[in-house]
């Protein structure tokens, strides 16, 4: 018995006294006693967990996989030049790493929007994310891994939200940040990047001009460039917003049938495709009319640039979808819808006046696309100009007799100039909506 002292003790405590009792009493004890012990162990474990969490010892409960990336020698995810595409597991891993480090944004819902869309619309309010957009997710993941790998600074370029997010993520990780913004960037985004402590460089108006400047800075300073969408951590990080939306919809008993995401460089929709992989959820992209690089790329079978037309959606105007996002999305996207400025303004006003949240035009484009897809279901429908595998043109979701479908929409960001809010809110082109 010396080699098993714990079991021997349990034997003395439990089995022997029990064996001496009568049949039914013994059975009762044998059944009840360990149940009480189990409850006690559970309660003690929970209390210990709470106590340790309150003492800031959360790390103790990190899974080994989650702790790995804070190891300076640890291996990071595959680099962009690696042939392997990220998969759903990378999005799940991103969600785990980001849990508690970014806001778990609420999922909102409005009966009035449901009626207009002929579907149950669940809106993931990433405009309420730190930094005002879901770009914070990819930036926190990518910058966190670069910090863990020993880098002391990062460089980024974007029309605004990615730059703001990288600046904030760098500050949180104690890294220097240089961000390259276009000369016509929204002042609110420039201010936010500066407020986060980043050095702001203004260059040109196109992606190519900014990218050239950003690459030169990265080379001179010896700091890595965090691409706004052509980067596996960014794709996986952005995908965590879709994953949370998918999970929340299922938790509410209304699992998603479709997921609608605005498309700029494609990081968000690639992340959405990964998050929906292995589920029956159909993923749709939304592009402004004349900024439809993804739709054209899907039709051509390879990344196809466009000369972006003017659009209210300043965040959806890269000249070309990224290589990595395209590679992920090409076989996974169900379709792409194009929306014009009128549709974006209508969605903006619905979100502001009915749902009570401020979403930038690029973010409102997602709802505009969902409403457009809903129209197709109506009697006069069928006019959606979409492209891609399984071309849209039929009935994405039934409006009548059939079961009402649940559609998730990612409201990607909320950084808008006050003047533009005033102009769009006061706009008379669309009618108000009553609940």
């Amino acid at each position: 018995m010396i080699h098993m002292p714990v079991l021997a003790l349990l034997d003395r405590l439990l089995a022997e006294p029990v064996a001496g009792l009568g049949g039914p009493a013994r059975a009762l004890l044998v059944t009840v006693y360990p149940v009480v012990l189990t409850a006690l162990v559970l309660a003690l474990s929970l209390a210990a967990h709470r106590g340790l969490t309150a003492l800031g010892a959360r790390r103790l409960f990190d899974l080994p996989r989650r702790r790995a990336h804070s190891n300076p020698e640890g291996e990071t995810m595959p680099r962009i030049d690696a042939p392997a595409l990220p998969a759903r597991t990378q999005v799940e891993e991103a969600a785990r790493v980001l849990s508690g480090r970014v806001v778990r944004t609420p999922v909102l819902h409005s009966p009035a929007i449901d009626r207009l869309a002929c579907a149950r619309i669940l809106l993931k309010a990433e405009n309420l994310q730190d930094g005002g957009s879901y770009k914070m997710r990819g930036a926190m993941l990518a910058v966190g891994r670069l910090a863990a790998a020993g880098h002391t600074g990062v460089v980024a370029q974007s029309t605004g939200n990615h730059a703001v997010a990288v600046a904030l993520a760098a500050r949180r990780h104690g890294l220097a940040a240089t961000v390259v913004l276009p000369v016509d960037a929204a002042p609110v985004k420039v201010d936010r990047a500066r407020a986060a402590g980043a050095r702001v460089v203004r260059a040109g108006t196109t992606v190519e001009e900014r990218l050239a400047v950003a690459r030169r800075i990265a080379e001179v300073e010896g700091h890595p460039l965090v691409d706004a969408y052509d980067h596996p951590d960014v794709v996986a990080g952005q995908g965590s917003a879709s994953l949370e939306l998918i999970e929340e919809a299922a938790r509410r008993g209304t699992p998603l049938d479709a997921l609608v995401v605005p498309v700029g460089g494609g990081g968000g929709i690639a992340g959405a495709c990964l998050a929906a992989a292995g589920t029956p959820i159909e993923v749709y992209g939304v592009e402004p009319v004349g900024c439809d690089s993804l739709a054209r790329s899907l039709a051509a079978g390879r990344p196809t640039p466009v000369a972006p037309a003017p659009s209210l959606a300043d965040g959806l105007r890269p000249g070309c979808v990224g290589d990595l996002p395209f590679a992920v999305a090409r076989t996974a996207v169900r379709g792409v819808v194009r929306v014009d400025d009128d549709a974006i303004v209508e969605a903006f006003r619905l979100l502001l006046l009915d749902l009570k949240v401020l979403v930038e035009p690029s973010g409102a484009a997602g709802l505009a696309g969902a409403l457009r897809l809903g129209e197709v279901a109506g009697p006069g429908g069928g006019a959606v100009t979409a492209a891609g595998p399984g071309d849209v043109g039929g009935t994405p979701w039934p409006s009548g007799g059939g079961r009402r479908r649940t559609v998730g929409v990612v409201l990607t960001g909320g950084n808008v100039e006050a003047d533009l809010v005033a102009r769009l809110a006061g706009d008379r082109m669309t009618a108000g909506v009553a609940a």
Copy 2:
């Protein structure tokens, strides 16, 4: 053994085979086997609960206390003429009844607002509530109990949000609703009440005029009048918003030190006082300058009417705080701050452009008050014009060396006209804020 067949079976299954084994093996089995059984029973129970919940059989899990009020013969809460004041238990009961019937609105947070307020500000976004305001809570509770008591219709009067909430609550419970609104009511509130199926009657511009009309209608139709604040269910229902905020702050590890609530008729602040009862949380009210009935009532020791001055905060302009709310608040409120339209507009813009949510001026007044209380802590502070037990005038929360305090603010509603949004968003009187 025939009289205890289950125990006999367990005895055969568990105890007898165990008794035949060697010491350590027996001890191991005795310990492990019931633990596994317990886990199995727990898992099966959870699965059954989920299955039944998904089938809409939630009622099965209602506590007897919670089910009582759906009994037509059941006794409801004390009426307004009863001497007993509602207590914290009524707010907890309200929160239980309302759980799953109204939105559990998110608690939002912004570093930029924290810096301005010299405190951690947690904002309960009741503008995202059904019907666009926290009035939905009291209305759902009161109308639900009237429906359970066999009534077939209800009457209400208010400047807007309470009427909208009662209309929606009546529709959900299958009751007819007549709501009396002022002739100068915000069109969006009139539209929303009508959209919810209520009969809308327009009468006068003051509470007294509307109340006279509403009482006549109630008498003619034989339907009860649901007062906008002088009603225990309404006070308890509104208090559930504060209770959720208090709980969420504690869950995040930053328990509230203070709670700031805008004051119209006093239902919200009375509910907040009840929710905070028995905790060290200090409750502050916020009134527009010239609409300070609560501050005057606290100073006079009895409900004291004012002739309400013009204010952007249309929901905070009743001529007098209610008897019941005053009775609850008089000994429980720490102080009242008064805010002018400039302060309300500044708070409105902060909430819109920094936090990304649309809050009506009456709701934004809460944040304006919290910022005003924060100013007192600064070097030039001390000018707060407050009244009540424990008159404010010192340092509500330390800005410097001391521990940073956590302050909860209830953003009570978000029903604003598009034109007003455009005017306030475009307003140049205050500067933008960067995160």
